[in-house]
Every structure is written in C-alpha cells, then in structure tokens.
Chain length 211, copies 2
C-alpha cells in the first residue's frame, strides 16, 4: 500500500542542496509562492510584489510566507534562481552558432536578454532585488551568480577554464548585470546594451592568444 505511507519527502531543486528536506505539501507551498511572486512581478515589477498579496495569491498565511522566505528580497532572488534554471535549460537546447568563443557568449547573453525583454517587469523585480540584496542574502545571490557563470562557460565551450578566463567571465557578469540595470531604468537603449555586451566579450579574445 504505497498511498501516503511516509509523507514522501521530496528533495528540493538543485539550488538548495543543504536545507532540511520538505514534505510534499511544503514543496507545493513553496511552488505556489514562487509562482505567485513571478506572476505579480510580471504585472507590475518590484513594487507590485507585495508580501500580503503574495501570501494571499499563494494561499498561505503571511507568517508562513516569511518562514519560507525571510524577506521580500530573499523571495525575489529565489524567484530569479528559479527562472535562471529554466533559462539555462532552454539555452542548452540550442547552443549558439558563432565561430569564436566571444561571439558565442555575446549571442547567448543577447538571447537571454531578449527573453528578459518579453517580461520586462519580471526582469525589473528580479534584477533590482539582486543588486539591492545585502549580506543576509549573500548565499542565495552567490547561487545566482554561479548559475550565470555556468551559462557563460557553457557558451564558451570550456571544460576547465584558466584563472584568466574566469576573470574575464566575472567581468562579463558585472557588465551584464549593470547593463541590465541601465536598460531597466531607461538610461540605456537595447542597442546600447548590445554594444556593451559585445564590447566586454572581446575580453575573451585576450585570453586566447590564438597561436
């Protein structure tokens, strides 16, 4: 009789390997919360993600919401982790075509950028949370950063990068985040972001002396 014998603990996603395991219902709650968060964010961006509303939309008491995500920032960063995993999966399916590594990275980031453009409010909420996060959110932000690194390394097609290459990747990430912010706050055009990404990707060439 395998009905509900033991309340079937479910492993959380790759992103939270350490946390105490959650029951099915808890996992379901967590999903509902993240879904509500993304939904509200898609509508009106950072400001539209109001904790009371998230709680209501996901059928959870406010106190419970705070037990799962200790602050609005934590919630939005977790939402970003969620979306990033999804995007990494999508990107993997159609690897970029360029010849040079720099081209492929730029192409990948522009593809990600276009995906964000489709939900600019959601992008706003996630990126603002990410850069506003203080030390208490560092582990989660690091996860996001790590995931981004993986995406870029994937695009470069590298097995084990040199320290120099990792530095270049770090700088690319810096540029990526900051360029997103300038776009989201209306201080840079899409074309400008494209130029910035292409410019920074030239750093990759410097790490491959081509000889």
């Amino acid at each position: 009789m395998d009905k509900v014998a033991k309340p079937a603990r479910v492993e959380a996603g790759i992103a939270r390997p350490d946390a105490p395991p959650l029951t099915e219902r808890q996992e379901a709650r967590r999903r509902r919360i993240l879904h509500a968060s993304a939904q509200l964010a898609s509508r009106g961006g950072f400001d539209a993600v109001q904790m009371r509303e998230v709680a209501e939309s996901s059928q959870v008491a406010l106190g419970t919401l705070y037990r799962y995500f200790p602050s609005k920032i934590h919630l939005l960063v977790a939402t970003m982790q969620d979306q990033l995993e999804h995007m990494h999966g999508t990107l993997r399916k159609k690897p970029p075509q360029g010849e040079a590594a720099a081209e492929r990275v730029a192409e990948t980031l522009m593809r990600a950028f276009r995906a964000l453009q489709r939900e600019p409010h959601l992008a706003d909420a996630m990126v603002r949370a990410l850069t506003f996060a203080d030390r208490s959110v560092s582990p989660e932000v690091d996860q996001v950063s790590h995931q981004t690194t993986l995406i870029i390394l994937d695009a470069m097609g590298l097995e084990d990068p040199t320290p120099e290459q990792l530095s270049a990747v770090r700088v690319i990430e810096h540029t990526w985040h900051s360029a997103l912010i300038t776009w989201l706050s209306g201080r840079a055009s899409i074309a400008q972001v494209k130029i910035d990404i292409e410019t920074v990707c030239r750093l990759i060439d410097l790490t491959e002396p081509r000889s």
Copy 2:
C-alpha cells in the same frame, strides 16, 4: 547697507544647472541635509539613513526634506553626486603615474576604491541607492554616471575619445559599479575587486592598436 538687501540668490553647484535658484538659507538647508545624510550613512549605511532622522539632524521639517529630495533614493544619489565632485577634485590633484592608459585608469579606480573603503557604510548607502534607483531618478543617476565617465576619461588623458573608447569606458563603469556591489555585500574580497578592475581595463588596450 548691504545686510540682506536682496536675499542674495546663490547658484547651485555645477551639478544642478537648471533648477530654480535657491536663496542663501535654502542653500544652507540643502547643505545641512546632505551633510546629515552623509553622516548617518557613514554610521550605519543605507538603513541608518532614516528620513525622520535626516530631517531632525538637519533641523528641517520632514515635509521640507521631501520638498528638497523627493525620496530617500533621490537624497542618497544627491549625496553621491556631492561626494563624487569632491573626489574628482582630489583625484585631479595627483594624476596617476602609469605609462599606459589602462594602467592609469586602473590606478585611479583603485584609488577611488581605497577612499570608499575608508567609509564603507557610506559607500554602501550610496551605491545601493544608485543601483536601486528607478526611472524617476534617471536624470540624477545619469549625472553620477557622467561624472564617473569624466573621471575615467581624465585618467586616460583623452581629449576627444572615439566611440570605441567610449564603449570601453561604459563597460569599465559597469564593472566598477557591479564589483563595488559584490564587495559591499561581502561576496568578493578587495583583492578580487582589484583583479576585476585590472581585467576590464585591458579593454582599453584594444582601442589603441599601438601603431
């Protein structure tokens, strides 16, 4: 009798060339507010800059504070403008020594970085405000960005940069801001920031084919 004949209008600093001119007392209020803001920020960072406290410290009613700076973010961005002007002046006095432009820019930014390290809480408040700013603060944020550009161009020693060089400068600024954030939130060491800055500055070499 030149006591208070006409309430002597004073031109606002370089940073606000358009705004309606302020009287002496208004200029003094503005100064007191910015001073209080910087002071509180130096103590406890972003969170310690509480609007009621700023108002009290600067002997101004809350409503007046909001008339001068329409939000906490506006206030902190203005504080940053203020500090940046100061820093630009300081940096100008001792121009960097490096041979190559890339070296000089890296040296300048590291000098600025060391200045920020002396008041990490203040840096935290200003940088967090800068990246959290939404569209309503765009003009002010652009001012800050422009001022930063000037500092970098100064270090490069350029009169009229090429579009390529401007792109490199943009990317350097992106990296600068983002690297600051990772440092402020404890996710990167000072050494790491140094590496990132030096890495991105190599982009400058790409714009000077040295021939």
